[in-house]
Symmetry: C2
Subunit: 269 residues, 2 copies
DNA sequence: GCAAAAGTGTTTCGTTTACACCCATGC
DNA sequence: GCATGGGTGTAAACGAAACACTTTTGC
């Protein structure tokens, strides 16, 4: 490693990025944390992140660090904000720019350092390093606001999902309960969801041209997802990543954009 | 000036702050800009801001620079976000953390450098330096979202204001028109506004115990505000900073907090 | 077969929207 | 006195909330 020194007329803070990765296991909203092997805060958990390079934007830096530390290749990071408390890092003056990202279940793959990365339900979080609890609260807050304006829910689900899954996700994010029937109506009447007919999924070809088999084979069908990895979600080992009954839907980006335009970019779920 | 050098093992970006100050003259939403005297972007206009000191948070830095450059002593800055495009400053790698602030009319005072500061209506803005147009758009966007959740309108008005004033402000910020009667109802039924009865204002004492003089002397009454400075707002010289007829209201923070709590921190105007 | 969850439609209620009149002010 | 703008009430329309029943799934 080079040992060049860089000299400036005035002191400069170090600049890092951090990334709050949200995931959803069908029941709880989760975040991805990395256990710190070194002091300070050794043994505490922290968001993936690191120092910003001079040739990348903060967003690019956050993406790079995320990839390096967890193997996740996520785009569409949303900026949470800059955190600049003078003593937030005991070693040095460090300013961090935090983002959040949405991981689909299928996106989770073991990266090089992934052994140290682990998902935690947001109400079962361990002690966090630095001011990461503060970053988390801000990220959560922003997620809750953004979900009213952006199709965030769909970023956290697989390509095809059921309405109850979507509802549970909204409830987990917003911390409130919806009436099942009203939620259906509201979602469907936006027109941004496509009913996943058999003929639409390439998976259906595994099973030929069955009509009216809607719910009978969903379990098998979903089990057929070759791309679905074994998730390192900590709790609830295996029960509901398999059990997925009911009608499947998918998110229609085109219709969504139109809907958004019609509503003056205000999506209020 | 010191010529000490500061040396680091890895290169570090410079970190600045910028502050988008919003103001309202009764008709238009305005922002405060400073003309750049030096290259780059000499002659362009920019938001007040500057380099961050090592012993201050970004918010403190933005407040300090704002005070230094415009004389404005504003608190409650809201972070807009960090801007980190690699080439946003042609001289050096500079990351800026942007905020917005709300100036009451009465807050505007000529500071040392204030001669160079000028208010512009947001649809009559000059060419901006750096990526400040980008910062402006983000700030505007955030203001539009925040006004649904925070009592922003009242931060931009004087202590006492009329309903039409408040409505014009909301319309200027959101860029839409409201029905006057519906706006009244909606605002009043939140309960966060106090009707400014004569006996509530110390100014009323100037006029003794007149009852039922509601609208007759408001002009004089308002003219009696010793603290109202001569505003450097560029357009519309003098007509409506004086003409303020109609019932006056004031913002009741206590009731607002209660209202907010009752509505789960969701204010939807 | 039975319990639990998924899927659908209707009624009620409250909020938002649209709209009309009177009063006060200022020329 | 006439034009402009401020202050209030009411009816229609829309969207949200409450709610019950049937079907499907999994043991």
């Amino acid at each position: 490693m080079e040992t060049h020194n860089y000299t400036y007329k005035y002191p400069r803070p170090a600049v890092t990025t951090d990334c709050v990765v949200f995931g959803f296991d069908g029941h709880d909203l989760k975040i991805l944390l990395i256990e710190r092997g070194l002091d300070p805060y050794k043994g505490c958990w922290a968001f993936p992140g690191g120092f910003l390079n001079m040739d990348e934007t903060a967003e690019q830096g956050a993406m790079r660090e995320l990839k390096e530390e967890t193997g996740l290749d996520l785009h569409n990071l949303q900026q949470v904000g800059a955190f600049s408390e003078v003593d937030r890092d005991p070693r040095d003056r460090v300013i961090t720019i935090a983002f959040y990202a949405l991981a689909k279940k299928a996106d989770v793959q073991g990266g090089d350092d992934a052994a140290k990365a682990q998902w935690f339900a947001i109400n079962e979080m361990p002690r966090l390093a630095f001011d990461h609890d503060c970053i988390f609260r801000k990220a959560m807050q922003k997620l809750r606001i953004d979900i009213h304006f952006e199709p965030i829910g769909f970023g956290l689900l697989d390509e095809k999902f059921t309405m109850p899954e979507l509802q549970r996700l909204y409830e987990a994010i917003l911390g409130i309960q919806f009436d099942r029937r009203n939620f259906y109506k509201k979602m469907l009447q936006t027109g941004i969801l496509d009913k996943a007919e058999d003929d639409e999924t390439e998976l259906a070809t595994y099973y030929g041209e069955h009509k009216e088999m809607k719910c009978e084979d969903t379990e098998t069908l979903f089990g057929g997802f070759a791309s679905e990895p074994c998730l390192p979600y900590s709790t609830r080992p295996d029960d509901d990543s398999r059990r997925r009954k009911g009608t499947h839907f998918s998110f229609n980006k085109q219709r969504y954009d139109k809907f958004k335009e019609d509503n003056n970019f205000r999506l209020e779920f």
